[in-house]
Symmetry: C2
Amino acid sequence: MTTNEDLDRILTAAAGVPLTGPHSAPADVRAGWLEAVADVLDAAAGELIELAGQESHLPAGRLTSELKRTTFQARLFATALREGGISPVQVDTPVAGWGSGPRPDLRRTLVPLGPVLVFAASNFPFAFSVFGGDTVSALAAGCPVVVKAHPGHPELSRRTAELVSGALPVPGLFALIEGVEPSLTALRDPRIKAVGFTGSTAGGRALYDIAVNRPEPIPFYGELGSVNPVVVTPEGWAERGGEITAGWLESLLMGSGQFCTNPGVVFVPDAAAFLDGIELVTPGQMLNPAIEQGFGKTTTTMAGLPGVHEAGTGPENGQGVRAMLFRTTLADLADDARALDLEMFGPAGLVVEYDDAGALIELLASVPGQLTGTVHGTADGAEPVAGEAVTALSARAGRVLYNQWPTGVSVTSAQQHGGPYPATTSPLTTSVGLAAIERFRRPVAFQGMPDGLLPPELRRERPASSSPGGAL
Amino acid sequence: MTTNEDLDRILTAAAGVPLTGPHSAPADVRAGWLEAVADVLDAAAGELIELAGQESHLPAGRLTSELKRTTFQARLFATALREGGISPVQVDTPVAGWGSGPRPDLRRTLVPLGPVLVFAASNFPFAFSVFGGDTVSALAAGCPVVVKAHPGHPELSRRTAELVSGALPVPGLFALIEGVEPSLTALRDPRIKAVGFTGSTAGGRALYDIAVNRPEPIPFYGELGSVNPVVVTPEGWAERGGEITAGWLESLLMGSGQFCTNPGVVFVPDAAAFLDGIELVTPGQMLNPAIEQGFGKTTTTMAGLPGVHEAGTGPENGQGVRAMLFRTTLADLADDARALDLEMFGPAGLVVEYDDAGALIELLASVPGQLTGTVHGTADGAEPVAGEAVTALSARAGRVLYNQWPTGVSVTSAQQHGGPYPATTSPLTTSVGLAAIERFRRPVAFQGMPDGLLPPELRRERPASSSPGGAL
């Protein structure tokens, strides 16, 4: 556990990293940071994947592709930083006859918020952990990062942090802390200016409450729970019934269901037909005892909800965990919608039979905020329920898919991994993709500023070099 | 006061406005809303300015230019909506060999958050009131708006609301409510999805606390207090001393100092020289009794702070209000910095003498968050303290000016009217300028979606008309 003295030293160093002016790091220097870390992590892949396997029980194939995705993500940010596309500036030159009075010379850029506290997740020991999306996007923005290690993979966290620190040339730019109490102390410390979190709704909300109730409240970017509803249209079912069931099961049970985009609820026109002949695979060992216990608890709760019935269990995995299906009807959910609030983080799903498309759309319009919503229908979606479901889900989710599955979140420019509360605490932002950088910087406008005092990217005469201001 | 029944009817209607899908309003329809309202307000200018003058005690010339600015702002948003520049979309086409796994077709657009509650301000009865920047930017985003009238100008608020409602063709899109209790009920209502506020730090923080502690927390965009520090460099003072003092006084006392960008604190190399020969003008009648009392209280507090001395008072305005100046030194502020937290909303300012530029920069780096920071120096700012002050202030403010004054916030693309807490509760956003729209919409990504189900702006084949989807 991190001592108070160590934490204070870490926060002092983080707060000492210059955020503005000639000693702050320009975009290409920040790109270099990310590339340097990506290189050392790739070079240590064998060692890291072995450690990750021991601590997370995830198979080597999955971990190999996850590490690849993690370093790809860092290099994608680096490329975008060098190209300038994710650091937009806005320049308004003077206009004497402007409608709100003479327009001054106004030039807006973005500056880092300051030190960011990142709570690592357990289910992606690379992609959402020490050097995951929150860390990378905060560093890309120019913010120092303090990562709270997830206790599910302590050795991997320490070794990753050692490699990250070794690759970063700026004191204070990165540190790892361990332990709940030190992380809460950091969360309350005025030197911390923003928080990234991926985890449970209850845990995330508790931390969010601390962040927003500080004397100086700070942005809390929490990616919490989601049941990721799927709608199968009657026409889609008629065309591709078996394929849809198989695709759902694969997405649902992938990684033993331990994904935040796990499609936990599927609305189908005929539950018996949908469930016919399903064989559930044996899940792997769960990530850690807390998740295993949580899975047992939520599936027990689900089984006890009025109108919910068990619809199949698979073989036991040697630690007492089985894949499970439940079923209910739209009419039962209309009486008691708690099943739609219940994320069973693990290999379990709920099949909801609907016969009234209008009632289905009405229910979808009022589901809790979701990371994703999915519609499976005909190729062109001409059946009215397809379009109505897309409209309803796009009002309640951050990403809406058609004839695809939500697990496997691509790291791209257009990606939106977010959604209305409780899917996230910050629906205007994404925690995956290049737009994730927007969470960690704020606009500053310079008015009437002589060239010599402007940040390089705002100068009237852009210097030949793209990074003239960097002293780091 | 708005009754519970009226409020419920208003919120139900607001929640019924479609946010997504073919029945939601496309950008050019929203542009039409704003233009229609601007037209009716301009047509009623004579009547509105007379009402505003009676209730706010502001002179007709000021109110005329404020109304002009208000309708200009609405038309500027309308133009930007038609041109598409403020509604960015992002399209990622499929790439099989993408580094995080095969990249799907992902298209991201922005959808309205839902009904927005706007708390009107008293000091701009047009520009920050019923049809002010918050209302206009929320409507531009497609959000229904419920405005809580400021009690400082009730008749003007009602008449403006009547005109706005009459010009908007969509039921539920706009409503006015009156009274503190109804506004708190609305703030807690799950149908309200975001809040805009301009006012005092204490009042704003109390409302913010409610918004973020709801079962479903919502974004609270509060523009609170700021003392807007100004730094005069020794070299700047030597070149333009008298001009700087005169400019500061004009900005400080404009509108009897009742502006959030009022430059309340000025750091000068020689306080006696800066204050020499100053004559303070008679302030106008204050906006309302609450502001008048607050001014009396904060100036009394200021006078009682250790190391702070009165440095001049002007003639009394007939209601007991006089312009006031105070002075202190950097050394005194280093012992007790409370004077930097104290916004005296009215015709008063604090002159701080500094002799150690290094100590000045250190103090600036730790001032509370500000809307603006200003430096007055030589034309090119070559003296080191100018650049160091700009660097320090840009880490603590949303807008940094050079040889200009912060009052008079231009409505433009690059404007940033915001800043770290306590200047605002949401430092990543602006409440003035076109970027203010970003506060009221969230990204949604569509994955693998057939053209017919995509929002028009994301379709592969863009239709000939720019607004094919609008049924409103």
